[in-house]
Amino acid sequence: TVGAVALDKAGHIAAGTSTGGMTNKRWGRVGDSPIIGAGTWADDRCGVSGTGWGEYYIRTNAARDICARVEYRGDSLQAAADEVINRIIPAMGGDGGAIALDRDGNIAMPFNSGSMFRAWIRPDGSSGVAIHE
């Protein structure tokens, strides 16, 4: 699975996800990526693209849940993403990760599966690429 979340100069956020699904998946199986709210979400303050065991992202409405925590409770993006990806989903038996970005340009990249291929550019221009670390 691949994904991206961006914040533009107008302060608008967009998110997208694209995937081949799971190896050896039953034909016709649809994962979380195309399910709006599960694997992909963007609103005017937060955007998320997920990657992981899709059935759990669907059942937890994971991407929307992260942004709802930011919107309704004022959680920091990092706290919201960590809670959903690293506590709620693993507690149910799922795994994976997500990238998230808020309207202030804060970035969260939680994962619990040993690795997540990812890269970022922050508003101050600092950037990075990481896999395991």
Partner: protein, 180 residues
């Protein structure tokens, strides 16, 4: 206006020692290329949704990531691709599921968002919608094949057969495993 961009190429159990130095270098270079593609859009004042599409298309074209070229095989030995895109300030969204001949599923998802009254189209319906759209490139399903994904399918099916055999031999019937 400050900009920011974050991308991913999937999460999983990929032990560090399982990646050769050359492979890791390739993965990192492709991620950087995708990041640069999206960031170029943002730096020239383009919309976030264009940046998202630009980054994802680089990753879809890379055989190393599980999207577009290099997508995993399903149990029938083919590829079924899914994608979604969403614009935050309008809450517009588009998605496709189970497409088999569309070179860039993220581009088709965006077309669903921009050129249809629908949010999500699946399977033959998504393919039929793609037929109506200009600039949606089509490829044979085998175009997505890579030897690495073929090996992964064969390994998964070998393990699946072993697990089924274990169940037949007197497992407790409460096996927690995922068969797709």
């Amino acid at each position: 206006g400050r900009t920011a961009l974050v991308i991913h190429g999937g999460a999983g159990f990929v032990p560090k020692e399982s990646l050769s130095a050359a492979d890791e270098k390739e993965y990192r270079a492709t991620l950087r290329l995708a990041l640069d593609a999206g960031n170029a859009v943002l730096q020239r004042g383009g919309p976030a949704i264009d940046a998202v599409e630009a980054s994802i298309r680089v990753l879809e074209e890379s055989p190393r990531f599980n999207a577009g070229k290099g997508a995993v095989f399903n149990a029938k030995g083919g590829h079924e691709l899914d994608a979604a895109i969403m614009e935050g300030h309008t809450l517009r969204a588009g998605a496709v599921a189970g497409v088999t001949t569309v070179r860039s599923p993220i581009k088709l998802a965006r077309a669903v968002m921009e050129h249809s009254p629908h949010v999500m189209l699946a399977g033959p319906g998504a393919e039929a919608f793609a037929d109506t759209q200009k600039d949606i490139e089509r490829v044979p399903n085998s175009w997505f094949d890579t030897p690495m994904r073929r090996r992964q399918l064969e390994e998964a099916q070998r393990k699946e057969a072993e697990q089924k055999a274990a169940v037949i031999e007197g497992d407790d019937g409460n096996v927690r495993r995922y068969l797709g």
